[in-house]
Symmetry: C2
Subunit: 224 residues, 2 copies
């Protein structure tokens, strides 16, 4: 990421398992906003201002937080109109590093087509930021990046080989996404935490028709 | 690369187009040694000590050097027994960053099986260092890493998703390596320099049965 300046770009933040999938799900259930934090204390501090606190560390819900990092926790009708303070191991760090970009978009398989439609209209270059796991590349975020590239081919040129690598992985994976990802390190880690149901849901394409974007540090939802 | 300590590892340095392919070819033609340098002046200084100087910047031979970065320049019978001082845009930088490793091996498609046999016997973990292009990932080095992973599967476990990504690209590419790589940024760059013959040669598997390794900063050849 340090090789690209974010200033002139539209950045797509990707953390399929599970931060950006949760965020997308939350907006589909009419929450008002999500404020992302890279560290726990800043996030917790907003509790006294009426925010719900949400997030995980090492895949587990944080003690004292209202919600963890399962998309099913964000489907509650009582969340309507609420503001959420959110922190996760990798996803919110990717967001902090994207601050300063022309535009920041939250991407997941759950809103794939909506994100593609949104990106097709942006007047800037696009930088897809895969959160990965503690600084390392991961398979599921890369495959999602490939889904964006595959759907946007013809509209953009490649700035390097990374989008091509992602695209080729996606074309290999798309018939059986779950099978393709089953040996990935993150899925194995999550399986040890018994959240197969979350994984299955996060790999569904186009459940929701919305695009969360970041305006002045706060994530809001726009229709594509 | 900064996420892994090189100290306890066997490092495989990969720069398919064209540094590690040239080095492999040179040893197959009986040169005595190659001393890699990350910068030009250090490399040039060895000329006065009887070394041949070799290498490129931005894909082109350096003015005043004896040889550039085409494998065909390293097939001359007159090279037998000679010592070479070598510098390239990316390959020798990858080597400098690997210094301190338990062992350093030079890998290319030209000596794929020899490298696989060598690695199968090492008692350490393996870190495959793809040189890429000016800090960016590239397709051909990643696909070669995948060839190593595919051939060594069963002998090693994955430390992260990167080897799996490389492996899956290789399984997709191996029937038609040239076709798979034709849109990569580096191949397009080299095609502008008219070196299709070099590319074709660098993608040949198992031309040579030898493994260049680095001992005290100098590359020598060993039989696998």
């Amino acid at each position: 990421m340090h090789l690209y300046k974010v200033q002139d770009q539209t950045v797509v933040v990707v953390d399929i398992l599970r931060a950006t999938s949760c965020m997308t799900t939350a907006f589909a259930h009419n929450i008002q906003s999500i404020t992302p934090f890279a560290n726990l204390p800043d996030c917790l501090a907003l509790k006294s201002e009426g925010y719900l606190t949400a997030g995980e560390r090492d895949g587990k819900k944080v003690d004292g937080f209202d919600m963890g990092n399962s998309p099913f926790e964000y489907m509650d009708p009582l969340l309507k109109g609420k503001k959420i303070a959110f922190t996760t191991t990798n996803g919110t760090k990717a967001i902090s590093r994207s601050i300063g970009a022309k535009d920041i978009v939250i991407g997941s398989f759950l809103n794939l087509s909506a994100v593609v439609e949104y990106l097709r209209k942006v007047p800037t270059n696009i930088l897809i930021v895969c959160s990965g796991w503690k600084g390392k590349v991961n398979l599921e975020d890369t495959v999602f990046a490939g889904a964006l590239v595959e759907n946007l081919k013809g509209d953009f040129e490649f700035a390097c080989d990374a989008p091509m690598i992602a695209q080729r992985l996606y074309t290999q994976a798309k018939g059986d996404l779950k099978g393709f990802l089953k040996d990935s390190s993150h899925i194995k880690r999550l399986e040890r935490l018994n959240i197969q149901k979350d994984i299955d849901f996060c790999l569904k394409e186009d459940e929701y028709d919305l695009v969360p974007t970041i305006r002045e540090g706060v994530i809001m939802s726009v229709k594509p």
